[in-house]
């Protein structure tokens, strides 16, 4: 077996020891690892809630937890997964680590702001978890008024404070990325030579800085309304609850692109590398990313088809929602075209990457069902919606996140993880995922509503499949935790470019030194200059 060999060079990891050197670091790579640890913890907490939900739903009668506890469970699950896992995961972990490396910079533009982001993330997380421990929240992660502002007697305000704080963490990260990508690219690295991962994080940052303040202010208004019993959302007081939904979804629809755009960036890097082929239609891929980001701001009303907004608004939003399919389809076609004629090898990151493409496609196509005004009236608030967004967000974003962690693990840790375990877990996750969530399309189509802890007998078999799948999925998620940790000590030492990939980050040592590069690299070729082997 492997013997543990000591890392040879001075890297960002051994540059200072002790907790303090990490907690006051300004190094984007160390901050990325701080995020990695805290985000993993939140993922675990959110998954525990999911496990409870699935356990409850294994039987038709509500026998495990009360309706009230169930409400708190799915709220906790949603709040944690959305704000403390999905939104920050790829940008804050992989983005933080890679953005400066990929553009040949020594660090992000504002390193102290970056560290502050992490502290805000932790503080906001502390608040939210505290509120959830103190008694929980039962509003759902959407905080719909007037229930959240007037009726719910749970810890709404505390959770809102937590989400508000973590929102500023997002905003700071977004500002940092935008400025860094604009101003700190290595000589020769023009916009159209940037890796697509950078484009994706750029577009994501734009969404982050434009959408998050809206959420922050809107939730503040809910909190004030709740505390003072006056406000602009409660119809009994002359307010307008639809206003809340508009403002909420103005953030929360673009938020799904905050989750999936970086995932697309990761997938692009992986697919081009493991098919040894330059990405097909590079420019269109970049434009598609921007297109998705822009159109993403125009479609929020598709969450409100049955809310009582005007029929014409519904029709407009329906039409615009279909438009998002165009750039999304461009991306899928171009990944396929990259694979076509490529020399494909199926390493673990590639399996995750391909899993991402497949699951994202199912999620996206079912999104078209939901974007159709008439169909949505039947499907809204059923498990069809749950299945749809899990395919996009869990099948898509989480898959790509795991793929990215595997792909860049040698760079981050300086070690190689055990490849066969990586492949195995990718397959387990893919199977577990489909087993968990595919039945939910059927359940939703048959009319099982979301957010109920009981359901009619006939639906039990589908729910049982789903619950069994969740167990498999959980195993798939736990495996990487084990073998990645194992590899930190026993894994083979990685050289600087174990995948023979293109991109500046692979020119840095593994793990990189504090300043990333000995000398500022100069870029002379376009992105993904792989030489196809046919």
């Amino acid at each position: 077996m492997n013997t543990s060999t000591v890392l040879q060079h001075r890297s960002y990891i051994n540059e200072g020891y002790g907790l303090k050197s990490w907690l006051i670091t300004h190094d984007h790579k160390r901050i990325a690892l701080l995020y990695l640890i805290s985000i993993t913890l939140f993922f675990f907490v959110g998954s525990m809630a999911a496990a409870m939900i699935r356990l409850e739903l294994a039987t038709p009668s509500g026998d495990l937890v009360s309706a009230e506890t169930y409400n708190k469970l799915f709220t906790m699950h949603g709040v944690i997964m959305v704000w403390f896992f999905l939104i920050p995961s790829i940008p804050a972990v992989l983005g933080n680590f890679l953005v400066p490396l990929m553009i040949g910079a020594r660090d992000l533009a504002f390193p102290r702001l970056n560290l502050a982001s992490w502290y805000l993330y932790t503080l906001g997380g502390g608040f939210t978890i505290g509120a959830l421990i103190a008694g929980g929240v039962d509003t759902g992660w959407t905080f719909y008024t007037p229930y959240s502002s007037m009726f719910s007697n749970s810890y709404v305000v505390a959770v809102i404070v937590g989400v508000f704080i973590v929102g500023f963490s997002s905003i700071f990260t977004g500002i940092n990325f935008i400025v860094t990508i604009h101003k700190m690219r290595a000589p020769g690295l023009t916009w159209f030579r940037l890796p697509l991962f950078i484009w994706a994080n750029y577009a994501t940052s734009v969404i982050l800085v434009m959408a998050t303040p809206v959420l922050a202010m809107t939730l503040s208004l809910v909190a004030i309304e709740r505390i003072l019993q006056i406000g602009i959302f409660d119809p009994a007081l002359g307010g307008d609850p639809l206003l809340f939904q508009h403002l909420f979804w103005f953030y929360s629809h673009p938020a799904v692109y905050i989750m999936v755009l970086p995932a697309m960036g990761v997938a692009s890097e992986i697919i081009t590398c493991f098919s040894r082929n330059p990405i097909f239609g590079y420019r269109f891929m970049a434009y598609a990313i921007l297109g998705i980001a822009v159109i993403g701001f125009l479609v929020w009303g598709h969450h409100m088809f049955v809310s009582g907004q005007s029929m014409y608004a519904g029709m407009m939003f329906s039409l615009l929602s279909f438009l998002v399919a165009i750039p999304s389809a461009v991306k899928v076609f171009n990944w396929t075209a990259t694979l076509y004629n490529g020399t494909i090898s199926f390493e673990a990151p590639m399996l995750y990457g391909l899993g991402f493409v497949g699951l994202f496609m199912i999620g996206g196509l079912t999104g078209l069902f939901l974007a159709s005004l008439a169909l949505d009236v039947h499907l809204t608030d059923t498990y069809f919606v749950i299945a749809h967004f899990h395919y996009i967000m869990v099948g898509g974003a989480v898959m790509a996140y795991f793929g990215g962690i595997h792909f860049w693990w040698p760079k981050m840790s300086g070690r190689i993880y055990p490849e066969n375990w990586g492949r195995f877990s990718a397959i387990v996750i893919f199977l577990g995922f489909n087993l968990t969530f595919f039945p939910q399309f059927l359940l939703g189509y048959l009319g099982m509503p979301r957010r109920y802890h009981q359901y009619p007998e006939e639906l039990q078999w589908l729910n049982e499949i789903s619950s069994a799948g969740a167990v498999l999925l959980a195993v798939g998620y736990l495996l990487p935790l084990l073998y990645l940790l194992w590899s930190l000590r026993y894994g083979r030492i990685a050289d600087s470019n174990p995948w023979k990939a293109k991109g500046l980050e692979w020119q840095a040592l593994s793990p990189p030194i504090r300043d990333n590069f000995e000398d500022t690299p100069v870029v002379k070729e376009k992105a993904y200059a792989y030489i196809p082997e046919h």
Partner: protein, 214 residues
């Protein structure tokens, strides 16, 4: 003159890059601020559309005299701010500190007058959540107007307070001759912020005070 800002922060190649990055960062931040206030303006628009008469009636209870004086004060402070930047560029340290101090004083004056206004509204029992007691058909929607009035001017006032704090730090730095014609980014950035706060007020003033007077 010694340039106390001798070193460029380590992540940058040169002072020019540092300056450009900081400036862009400030602009993006102000972009987020626009959207932050945007929620309040959107809410205002919706409610005013729903209750036009009530909003007109309510705005007649705001103190237009003090509001107008405050507008003038804030505009003047933008001028002194611009002069501070100009003198920092010319390496006139004491003058820079002086203009910054003047800006701070105008900011404090603004807050003071705002406080007097708030007190007036308190006496007229127009503060929702505290002592709102208004008679008439439109009372409920007028309450919403005043709720928005306090939130909007309140959030704006918080921005003024933060601005004053930052200005104070910058003023001390200017006094200690930190800035020069080579390096005046912080003065410029806090100036941008201050102008932004000013611009927000330029929108608040007509919306809250002038809705339908005249």
């Amino acid at each position: 003159m010694t340039d106390k800002h001798a070193l460029t922060a380590e992540q940058f190649d040169d002072p020019e890059q540092e300056h450009e990055a900081s400036t862009l960062g400030m602009w993006v931040f102000l972009g987020t601020e626009v959207l932050f206030f945007g929620v309040l303006f959107a809410s205002y628009a919706v409610l005013r559309f729903n209750y036009p008469e009530a909003f007109a009636e309510a705005s007649r209870h705001t103190n237009i005299l003090l509001g107008t004086v405050n507008t003038a004060i804030l505009l003047t402070s933008s001028l002194t701010m611009a002069l501070a930047i100009r003198s920092a560029q010319l390496s006139k340290h004491k003058l820079t500190a002086g203009f910054l101090l003047l800006t701070i004083l105008l900011g404090i004056l603004f807050l003071g007058i705002k406080g007097v206004e708030y007190y007036g509204e308190y006496e007229k029992q127009l503060v929702p959540g505290l002592n709102f007691a208004y008679e008439g058909d439109n009372a409920q929607s007028i309450k919403l107007f005043f709720y928005l009035y306090f939130i909007m001017t309140g959030v704006h006032a918080i921005h003024v307070i933060l601005g004053i704090g930052t200005l104070a730090v910058i003023a001390v730095m200017a006094w200690r001759e930190w800035f020069s014609s080579d390096y005046f980014t912080p003065v410029e950035l806090v100036g941008l912020y201050w102008h932004f706060v000013d611009i927000i007020w330029i929108f608040l003033y007509p919306f809250l005070y002038l809705v339908s007077r005249g």
